[in-house]
């Protein structure tokens, strides 16, 4: 069972790192923001898997807060993205 958790976490990390390509490649700013959203959702999944893997349920609070912050970043992007500097 531990092998399965480790394998799933590593494959999620690999998919996260492949998603980083879109940050360098994305034509618009919203594409780069979408890759940041991917960090949010995949990070929540990795934290949940790790909290079940180590039976350290405090990591669930970290996952809750990460999902909250990922939504805050999008709201900040939409509200403040067009401010001229």
């Amino acid at each position: 069972m531990n092998m399965i958790y480790a394998f799933l976490s590593i494959s999620l990390l690999i998919s996260l790192l492949v998603g980083v390509i879109r940050i360098f490649l994305g034509p618009t700013k919203a594409d780069r923001m979408l890759a940041a959203q991917l960090f949010g959702s995949v990070g929540v999944a990795i934290l949940l898997l790790q909290s079940a893997f180590t039976h350290n349920w405090v990591l669930m609070d970290v996952a809750l807060f990460l999902s909250f912050l990922a939504s805050i970043t999008v709201i900040a992007f939409v509200k403040l993205g067009d401010v001229k500097r």
Partner: protein, 105 residues
């Protein structure tokens, strides 16, 4: 490995497959709106499958409900952020669609 471990393993493997599908969609789809579709739907389905798979592994009801609360928060947050990003892009450069659409905002 009892029955619940097999349950957890199969649901988590399906969830990770949906996550990989979301990443491939983020890389391969041609448009911002298509990429939004891939990211906010496939990833949330994958997270839901992982949450359902991890629920029998928890030790008490509190953590079980906390898993559900995390999934609900991610669902609401990603639906809201999908609409926000789509509206932001659409206001910046409107796209002409085939057929009729009547939501003049």
């Amino acid at each position: 490995m009892n029955f619940w471990d097999v349950f957890t393993a199969s649901f988590c493997v399906f969830g990770v497959l949906f996550f990989i599908a979301g990443t491939v969609g983020l890389l391969r789809f041609p448009d911002v709106y298509c990429r939004l579709h891939a990211l906010t739907k496939a990833d949330n389905l994958g997270l839901g499958l992982i949450v359902i798979g991890l629920m029998p592994q928890t030790t008490d009801m509190y953590h079980m409900f906390k898993l559900l609360v995390i999934w609900m928060l991610v669902l609401f947050a990603s639906a809201t952020s999908c609409h926000l990003i789509a509206r932001h892009e659409f206001r910046k450069c409107p796209v002409e669609y085939e057929g009729e659409h009547n939501d003049v905002d």
